[in-house]
């Protein structure tokens, strides 16, 4: 076979991007097809149900559950205020009454004659969805959200932390091999998305948080630094909700790994430009990788998104080696032999021949490369 399916990450200076912006529950869409939106514009909003608090009314009043309705001062569906009387016994000659008052503003969800429980719901929580990228609204999914398209320079990272941010790109590293340290981070990084080289250490990350940088883009990160930053060890790579004061996108992997030249050069080319970045990563069941999106000017006629396809390995495909030896090196496929090949570990695997950027030609297991899609 002259081609094979493979894992792939996209690094390109020009892509027609299509982003769904969907509410977690049905709500209201605030824009219409044809609207041009900026990254921070509101496109849809909804109200999430508030937390539920069960109150054992029958116990509190000292009455049987089946008789609870006789003592209610409200009914399911009513909105209530903090301190409002919910239920009360008649007492003895008007004295010795037992009563229960609402602990918060909210609404009455239900009352059960089987258990004597009343369920109260806290006020609804507003959720707003922003556009995240500058672009054109090309589709409205009624009550659910929108699809936005634009033309962008686009980089997929391999792993990230924390959610969506926008800001201007600022190069800190002079070359993709550089390890960025704390003394290179200063107040000029405030509100910026800063770019490191092969690694950024914990002190530098902490300094970036302190000066108010929005995000860090780096080739590698050390496992132990990550653990200290989060306060726990990541067991399964499902991220995006961390509250660490900054978004981080790792483009290559764990350890000190040179950022791919192509990625570094692309970021350098767009230094000073506004970018949208998130660190959301999910490796299993709905693969999601962090993204760096730099919107470009576009003509509406250009907005024809490519049909999604799986990355394929073919002669000439640009690949990144993703396991030792030669982890992080970039090359081009020059051969796809069909025969199984025994590697040093004695594993029989399908391999490819690749010519690396440094000129050497190597045999590498196909499973240990990832396609850099352009």
């Amino acid at each position: 076979m002259a081609q094979a399916y493979s894992a792939g990450l996209t690094v390109t200076d020009n892509i027609i991007l299509r982003k769904e912006r969907i509410l977690p529950l049905k709500g209201t869409v605030k824009v219409k097809v044809g609207d041009k939106v900026k990254a921070n514009d509101l496109v849809a909003e909804t109200l999430l149900p508030g937390k539920v608090l069960p109150l054992n009314l029958a116990n509190k009043l000292g009455v049987q559950a089946s008789l609870i309705n006789d003592y209610l001062k409200i009914k399911p569906g009513d909105f209530i205020k903090k301190g409002q009387l919910l239920a009360e016994t008649k007492g003895f000659l008007g004295f010795f009454k037992s009563s229960v008052k609402s602990p918060f503003d909210g609404e009455v969800e239900s009352v059960s004659v089987h258990t004597g429980q009343m369920l109260l719901r806290e006020p609804r929580i507003p959720v707003q969805i922003k556009a995240f990228i500058d672009g054109l609204v090309v589709e409205v999914i009624p009550e659910e959200g929108v699809v936005i398209e634009n033309k962008s320079a686009y980089i997929q990272g391999i792993f990230g932390l924390a959610g969506e941010v926008t800001g201007k790109l600022k190069m800190i590293a002079k070359d993709p091999n550089e390890v960025v340290s704390a003394d290179q981070i200063d107040d000029s990084c405030k509100d910026r998305i800063i770019v490191a080289g092969s690694m950024i250490d914990l002190k530098a990350i902490e300094k970036a948080v302190k000066v108010g940088a929005k995000a860090i883009l780096t080739g590698g990160i050390d496992d132990q630094d990550l653990k200290k930053l989060l306060g726990y060890d990541i067991g399964v790579a499902i991220t995006g909700h961390e509250k660490i004061g900054i978004t981080i996108v790792v483009t290559e992997g764990f350890g000190k790994i040179k950022m791919a030249n192509k990625t570094f050069d692309l970021l350098k080319k767009f230094e000073g430009k506004e970018a949208s970045v998130h660190g959301k990563t999910q490796i299993r069941a709905g693969v999601m990788r962090p993204e760096i999106i730099i919107p470009l000017p576009f003509d509406e006629k250009e907005l024809i998104a490519k049909k999604p396809e799986m990355a394929t390995l073919e002669i000439g495909t640009t690949i990144r080696v993703i396991r030792q030896p030669n982890f992080g090196k970039i090359g081009k496929v020059v051969g796809l032999p069909e025969k199984l090949y025994k590697v040093q570990s004695e594993t029989l695997v399908r391999v490819l021949e690749a010519k690396l950027e440094d000129g050497q030609t190597l045999i590498i297991p196909r499973a240990n490369v990832e396609v850099i899609e352009e």
Binding site: H114, G235, G253, R323
Partner: protein, 620 residues
């Protein structure tokens, strides 16, 4: 007739990462697995259609079969599998299992966690589900916390149990109210109501309907714990399988199409064959092996994200399955490190390694789960991690597979328990006859000797235990094939799936370092006799091939036990295999590895050399 009806069968397993296809053909009067193909699973973006991955994997079958037979074999036409066959075109049946998109994810509830809660958990696990959480009336969380938990879980379905028939309904009603308040949404899409199976106290059925009827898709079935003495898991398990097909699969991208494709002749008529959850199919195979041979079996399937342990113990063939949801070799590999600690992994490694490099290697495997160890050192490290994942999975299984407390129990299916005196585990490594390993790290180890030592070091079998491995991970395929053609499934299992590694002999107990631990006299099939008094702390490998048997007289060292009691000699037959017979006098209960690397590493190297585990370059 079988060869007239089923000459060619295609079976696929749609895993979370890879879709694996096998071709089974009726050749020279028997069913054999002939070629195997695989392709990335395509249930998720960008393709969002599971059938694309199925077609890609079947296309590989087509290409390999064409190469094998030197003539064009066509299995696909117009983007569809051709059924039935006509000469070199098509197959007579297509069956499939699935664990794509995270498999079947369930939440269960019960009134008392250790009673109805545990029964509900057993029913869900036996049906092939991952149990995301067990919510019970006595689980110590406040009610508002339970509601928050239920709301955030987003399972595929909920199984609610609780109360014996005729018992109190209050606690069951309370659990229903919690579920109602949470108003949980199904994981796959919001266009349908979440299926909730109620299998509790029959007296509470009306209350369940009143509280939950409008909010969820409520299905009422027989109480899975009708009395304290009885567990009746069958009906609940069947409902789970029905709902898996009717609701969950229909929501997963492309499965509607796939469900139309899975066809096979049942009673001579081409009929739709339900897609089975992968672990349910593996569980069926493990139970079949145990029943057919009347033995105790421990099966393990170590995947990228999870490790499933299946066991059949006791004379009544009691079946148990556990899923260690966060122990695996890729997606969850970092969690293995977090769970066991670095020292426990490094104790199996016969060389020094920089800790920081190892930690980063593990994290890199987590974020790039499909990579394989190219360097020998990385293979050794991955296998060390596998031993710990397997060991921890067995600990969890041992804790779950227990006797119910103080109850007599009637049972009609094997999930039910023999209830004698206590909550003791029924997992007994001394009476265990066979360990079967499955999953990439075990099935695809470059040397089967490595598979053997991973199983032995992780599970520490005692006395005499046979070892086997699923050759290329096809137990799921055969589990679902057995539904339409048990003969084909059994033949392929015996000839192509199950590879016998050999037998392990391990005395229980500890003795002095140089004292004799095992006097083994083996009459080998080639006429040779192996006779050695093996000191404590050694390993030996005696070649004895597949299908061969050695007559053995095994005399344990003083104070040691081979399963028949302390100091008792046993006369037995030891089955050979692709590795042979392994004599292991390193001790059991306790099995102790020296803490100091200076003492431990030479021993590891000695054992690994004795068993020819790795190339000598890494053991010198």
């Amino acid at each position: 007739m079988a060869n007239d009806q089923l000459r060619r069968i295609i079976a696929t397993d749609c895993g979370s990462t890879t879709t694996k296809a096998i071709l089974i053909e009726y050749v020279n009067g028997e069913y054999r697995q002939t070629v195997r193909g695989e392709a990335p699973t395509t249930v998720e973006a960008p393709l969002n259609d599971v059938t694309r991955g199925v077609l890609n994997s079947v296309q590989e079958l087509e290409e390999l079969a064409t190469l094998k037979y030197g003539k064009k074999i066509t299995l696909i036409e117009n983007n569809k599998i051709i059924i039935p066959s006509d000469g070199d075109r098509g197959a007579d049946a297509y069956v499939s299992t699935s664990s794509a998109g995270g498999g079947l994810q369930m939440m269960v509830t019960g009134v008392v966690a250790k009673m109805t809660g545990e029964s509900a958990e057993r029913a869900a696990l036996g049906a092939g589900a991952i149990v995301m959480d067990l919510i019970s009336s006595n689980d110590k969380r406040a009610n508002y916390e339970k509601i928050e938990r239920i709301r955030h879980l987003r399972p595929d379905m909920i199984l609610m149990a609780g109360g014996v028939d005729g018992g109190t309904t209050k606690h069951v009603a309370e659990l229903a109210e919690l579920v109602s308040a949470a108003d949980p949404k199904p994981r796959l899409g919001s266009s349908y109501k979440l299926p909730v199976i109620y299998a509790g106290n029959t007296d509470a059925r009306d209350i369940m309907t009143e509280v939950l009827g409008d909010k969820v898709d409520l299905i009422i079935t027989d109480n899975l714990r009708p009395t304290l003495d009885n567990e009746n898991l069958g009906p609940a398990r069947d409902r789970i399988h029905d709902l898996f097909m009717e609701h969950v699969m229909k929501q997963a991208p492309g499965y509607n199409k796939l469900m139309e494709w899975t066809l096979g002749p049942i009673n001579g008529k081409l009929t739709q064959v339900p897609i089975k959850p992968t672990p349910a199919a593996v569980g069926d195979i493990i139970q079949t092996i145990a029943k057919q041979n009347n033995i105790e079996v421990l099966g393990v399937d170590i995947g990228g994200a999870t490790t499933d342990v299946f066991s059949v113990f006791t004379e009544e063939h009691v079946f148990n399955r556990t899923v260690s949801a966060n122990l695996g070799m890729s997606y969850s590999i970092s969690n293995v490190l977090a769970s066991t600690g670095l020292d426990n992994i490094l104790r199996w490694v016969p060389f020094d390694i920089d800790e920081s490099a190892l930690r980063n290697m593990i994290k890199n495997k987590m974020i790039r789960p499909t990579t394989i160890p190219s360097k020998l050192e990385e293979l050794v490290l991955e296998q060390a991690i596998a031993k710990e994942a397997l060991r921890l999975a067995l600990v969890q299984h041992r804790d779950f597979a227990v006797k119910l407390k103080g109850r007599q129990q009637k049972r009609e299916i094997s999930e039910a328990f023999s209830q004698s005196t206590s909550g003791d585990s029924i997992v007994n490594m001394t009476t265990l006859n066979l360990i079967v390993g499955s999953g990439g790290v075990l099935s695809h180890a470059p040397r089967r000797n490595q598979t053997a030592i991973m199983l032995i070091d992780a599970f520490l079998p005692e006395g005499v235990t046979r070892l086997g491995v699923d050759s290329i991970f096809m137990m799921p395929h055969l589990g679902v094939l057995a539904e339409i053609n048990p003969q084909a499934a059994t033949e392929v299992f015996d000839k192509d799936c199950m590879i016998y590694i050999g037998s392990c002999v391990a005395p229980i107990g500890k003795t002095k370092a140089k004292a004799m631990a095992l006097h083994a006299k083996l009459e080998l099939p080639n006429g040779e006799v192996f006779d050695e008094k093996i000191p404590f702390g050694e390993m030996r490998l005696i070649p004895c091939g597949v299908g061969e048997v050695a007559k053995a007289t095994l005399i344990p060292g003083s104070g040691l036990d081979l399963g028949a009691g302390k100091n008792q000699t046993i006369e037995t037959e030891l089955h050979g295999g692709v590795v042979g017979i392994i004599l292991d006098t390193r001790g059991r209960r306790p099995f102790v590895l020296p803490v100091e690397a200076s003492e431990r590493v030479p021993r590891l190297k000695k054992w690994m050399k004795a068993l020819d585990i790795y190339p000598s370059e890494i053991l010198s």
